[in-house]
């Protein structure tokens, strides 16, 4: 084996390659010059390649650069060996160098072909430039959009805020826009990233987190009015919350918009009060009659008694009777005054739990006697058991009085249109019933005043819409009633009805959310 290896490198018996070239100087010079230049070139290329790989750490497939370097280095070496073998016949060694070069060449070639698809997939610099440009444009568009949205967020007059819903269900403030900061007096920097329960005073925090939780529970936008004590003072807000979900569908954010409606609310209150006074005005006529009755009785009885006394009649039993009548009549007048006073009183700002049936009954009581005198009877069926609604009892009473006086006016008008003869009776039915869906009560007022033109039916709740003559109606009654019922989360609808016996009229139906008092108490203890 060792002898074989020595034999392989043994040069004896070989003649140098220059002999083949017959030592012709021009041939030798051409071969030597070419080989030197090729070898030097080959040697420079791997240096360049390695330099590139070392400098450009991000070059893809850098190992193939090393393979190329090895292959070209080997190629260069074979050329220098060709020069060497011109004089030294070490063909075994030269063959070995060629063998190494062959291995490097084959490996490089195979690797190159294997790598070809991936190399082709590499983006060209032109492609890269184009992609880069597209990216730049995209960035610019996004930057502008962001600027635009930031512009909206920062400049809109509507108060906007973002609340983060934490994994544990708690809420933290993300941001609020300058309009909201101004309106609330809250400095965004002081609340950013903080838990709502820590950033706000306890009562305010409790109120708003209940709303946030309700929005998360609802899984959709919610819309509500709330009164909050904030750095700017006590204000009324109309707020809309919209949940934002992540890719998995979990609600991670709430977007809120809030508008300060304190002034509008006050105006609304004024309007309600104005309309109430207008209703009072129409009622005043009836009240004048109501008051004149007992006053008349007192006067006649008193003057009668006086006249008898002057005639010398001192029957104490008679005097007792007269004075009792007088006292009773003053009490009757007192009650009328009380009711008017209650009705015209301004309701307090806060809502309360109350029995809606009681408000309906009070309204019926207020007008029943007066209507009866005009031959208009009120059939009231108010037995639905104990229920409570949230709102202001006097406002509901006001709505009912308004509906009843509209019904009254319709009947009077129908009678006038019917013409001569003794006035036919009018009937108003008032029902309080359980609603079709659980947790609701229906209050229905049905008259037989002939009904409403179907063409104007959709408009009757519009403010200032009236079918009455000038001076007869403000056109505000029903629209204010609509507002009051809406504030109680209820609704009011009107429809024409045919009583089937030739009488026709209108039915106003109020649907109110109610609960049983016991359930409410339960709720309270849980809260």
């Amino acid at each position: 084996m060792f002898a074989g290896l020595q034999g392989f490198f043994d040069t004896s018996g070989f003649i140098p390659h220059g002999v083949c070239l017959l030592w012709k100087p021009e041939i030798l010079a051409l071969h030597i010059g070419s080989d030197v230049l090729i070898g030097l070139s080959y040697y420079s290329i791997p240096i360049a390649l390695v330099y590139v790989v070392l400098k450009r750490r991000d070059v893809a497939f850098s190992w193939i650069f090393w393979l190329f370097a090895a292959f070209i280095l080997a190629c260069g070496t074979t050329h220098f060996f060709s020069i060497w073998t011109l004089w030294n016949a070490e063909y075994g060694l030269e063959g070995l160098v060629k063998g190494v070069t062959a291995v490097a060449s084959v490996l490089t070639a195979i690797a190159l072909w294997l790598l070809m698809p991936r190399l082709l997939a590499l983006p060209s610099p032109a492609q890269m430039a184009a992609a880069n440009d597209a990216l730049q444009r995209e960035i610019e568009v996004r930057r502008q959009a962001e600027q635009r949205y930031a512009g909206f967020f920062n400049n809109l007059a509507e108060g906007l805020f973002v609340v983060t819903v934490l994994a544990d269900g708690r809420f933290a403030f993300d941001t609020l826009n300058p309009a909201h900061a101004r309106a609330t007096g809250i400095d965004p920097d002081t609340i950013q990233g903080r838990l709502v329960s820590e950033a706000l005073p306890p009562e305010t925090a409790q109120a708003v987190t209940a709303r946030y939780a309700a929005c998360v529970a609802a899984g959709g936008p919610i819309d509500y009015e709330e009164t909050l004590d904030l750095p700017v003072g006590r204000r009324v807000w109309h707020t809309v919350l919209v949940p934002v979900r992540d890719a998995g569908g979990t609600i991670v954010q709430l977007l809120g918009s809030s508008r300060d409606i304190t002034e509008r609310k006050q105006l609304q209150e004024e309007l309600v009060q104005t309309s109430k006074l207008a209703t009072l005005g129409t009622l005043a006529a009836g009240m004048a009659h109501e008051m004149s009755q007992p006053l008349n009785i007192i006067r006649i009885w008193a003057e009668n008694a006086l006249s008898r006394l002057r005639d010398g009649d001192t029957d104490t039993a008679r005097l007792d009777k007269v004075l009792t009548i007088v006292a009773d009549q003053t009490e009757r007048m007192g009650k009328i005054i009380d009711h008017m006073r209650t009705f015209s009183r301004r309701d307090g700002g806060e809502t309360q739990l109350f029995d809606p049936t009681a408000s309906v009954r009070a309204a019926v009581d207020l007008v029943a006697h007066q209507f009866a005198l005009e031959n208009i009877t009120i059939d009231a069926d108010l037995e639905i058991g104990e229920t409570v609604a949230r709102g202001r009892p006097l406002q509901l009473e006001q709505v009912l009085v308004n509906l009843l006086s509209n019904a009254h006016d319709a009947i009077v008008e129908r009678r006038a249109a019917d013409g001569e003869g003794s006035p036919a009776g009018g009937r108003i039915e008032v029902h309080v019933r359980r609603g079709g869906s659980p947790g609701t009560a229906l209050i229905a007022v049905t008259d037989d005043g002939g009904g409403i033109d179907p063409g104007v039916l959709p408009r009757i709740f519009d403010p200032f819409f009236t079918t009455k003559e000038v001076g007869k109606g403000s056109g505000l009654g029903l629209s204010i009633g609509y507002g009051i019922i809406d504030a109680m989360n209820g609704r009011i609808e009107a429809a024409n009805v045919d009583h089937g016996d030739g009488r026709r009229g209108v039915r106003f139906t109020i649907t109110l959310p109610v609960s049983r008092p016991s359930a409410t108490e339960l709720e309270r203890t849980h809260a």
Partner: protein
């Protein structure tokens, strides 16, 4: 002694009606009471009165309708309307118009003496039948 003049009083307030009855009887009139217009009309047909005192707002038939009915029955019947409040609805009869005379209107609360004076005036102005 002449037959006392007959006065029909239509008034739905029993206490007011009783008091009217009391002082009119004391002054020598014969008094019939009715609780509403319809009853008054019925009573008038059965037993015509020399004068009718009526309230304005009453159940079943109000004073305005009663006046119209009575005027239809007798053009000369003196009428005294006693009312607390008389709204003038368009299309309704204006009782202050001369066409309804002899008719007087008094406002509640009314003094018995004023009622008596008015009754007396209406009766004496009445053309003797």
């Amino acid at each position: 002694m002449p037959e006392p003049a007959h006065i029909l009083v239509a008034e739905d307030e029993p206490l007011a009606a009783m008091a009217m009855e009391d002082f009119l009887q004391r002054k020598g009139y014969r008094v019939t009471l009715a609780q509403d217009g319809l009853e008054a009309l019925e009573r008038y047909r059965n037993d015509p009165a020399d004068l009718v005192i009526t309230d304005m707002r009453m159940p079943r038939m109000d004073g305005r309708a009663l006046v119209r009915e009575l005027r239809g029955l007798s053009a000369a019947l003196p009428l005294l309307v006693v009312t607390g409040f008389m709204p003038m609805e368009p299309g309704q009869d204006d009782l202050t118009s001369d066409i309804w005379k002899p008719l007087e209107i008094l406002r509640k609360p009314v003094s018995p003496q004023v009622v008596l004076d008015t009754v007396h005036r209406l009766m004496t102005a009445r053309p003797t039948a």
